[in-house]
């Protein structure tokens, strides 16, 4: 069968080389990350709009506990990216026990991050911050704070669950190192988003 005949019968894609030379699952993850980046971009731009348009935007974050907590969370999340790199590397090298150890280290760090995040949330709630009210100023502060950090935490929790599933299935031989690598892309993206959330949501609103 010639290439033309194959293409006419709907098998053209099988003959055509991938322009990116990566598996389709990895390309799909990249496209998901692109769309998710736009989602976070939109929500952060929306936050910027509200902050600029409000002349009584509160600046409640004290160094201790909020900023200190955020610094620890940042270290934890960046370290989890490093352990994820170790997991991908070990998986590609065929060292399943080591890959699993790294994956569970990443999960542990993700859980610590989520715990610290919850502690921050409860501290804010104790101070009277709700979705549409707070004791200091613009009532939309709570809405934007909980929306942005909540969406990020949803990504962290989803990632932790997904890594646990991938780890288990990879250990049993039902997934390939490629799946671990694709999972790693997602986790690094979660780390990347945090790099924008910290300066825009926390550091621009510190209490002086």
């Amino acid at each position: 069968m010639s290439e033309t005949e194959a293409a006419m019968q709907g098998h053209g894609a099988m003959l055509e080389a991938s322009p990116y030379a990566i598996p389709s699952r990895k390309l799909t993850m990249w496209l998901f990350i692109l769309s998710d980046a736009v989602t976070f971009g939109a929500i952060l731009f929306g936050y910027g709009y509200l902050r600029t348009a409000s002349n009584d935007w509160p600046t409640p974050f004290k160094f201790n506990p909020s900023i200190l907590n955020v610094m620890i969370m940042t270290v934890v999340l960046i370290t989890s990216s490093l352990t994820m790199l170790g997991a991908v590397d070990a998986a590609k090298a065929g060292d399943k026990p080591k890959a699993t150890r790294f994956l569970w280290s990443t999960i542990l760090l993700g859980v610590i991050f989520a715990g610290l995040h919850l502690r921050e949330w409860f501290s804010m709630i104790d101070e009277g911050v709700r979705l549409f009210q707070n004791p200091w100023g613009s009532p939309l502060f709570g809405a934007s704070f909980f929306s942005i950090t909540g969406l990020h935490m949803l990504h962290v929790v989803t990632g932790v669950v997904a890594i646990a599933v991938v780890s288990r299935l990879f250990t049993r031989g039902r997934l390939t190192p490629g799946h671990v690598e694709t999972m790693g892309l997602y986790w690094h993206f979660v780390d990347l988003v945090w790099m924008f959330v910290v300066p825009l949501v926390y550091l621009l609103n510190i209490s002086r």
């Binding site: 160094f63 990347l192 825009l200």
Partner: protein, 103 residues
Amino acid sequence: MAGSAKSGNVIVKYLPVYFVLLAISFLEVFLAYQHFSTAGLLAFLLFLAVCGAMLAVMYFMHLAHERRSLFLTLIPALIFVLLMMNMIWTDSFRLLHMRPFAH
């Protein structure tokens, strides 16, 4: 286990990127406590965040090691969309000054 002999160096390999990302995060906190204007501080913080993000994308996510076509497909489109979102600022400044029909 021949495969395991190949693994293990990746953590060491990416430690410099890890420490640069941590340094960027601490520098951001330091800058936040300096007495810059809000716009100035925003510019510094965004610049540092973009630098950190580029490092993460290029090295942790290995985009630097993929074909350039993948970079050219993803990154310019993302930058374009994010730049297009900047058209909201005039309206937010209008609301700040409570000028409903300001030019």
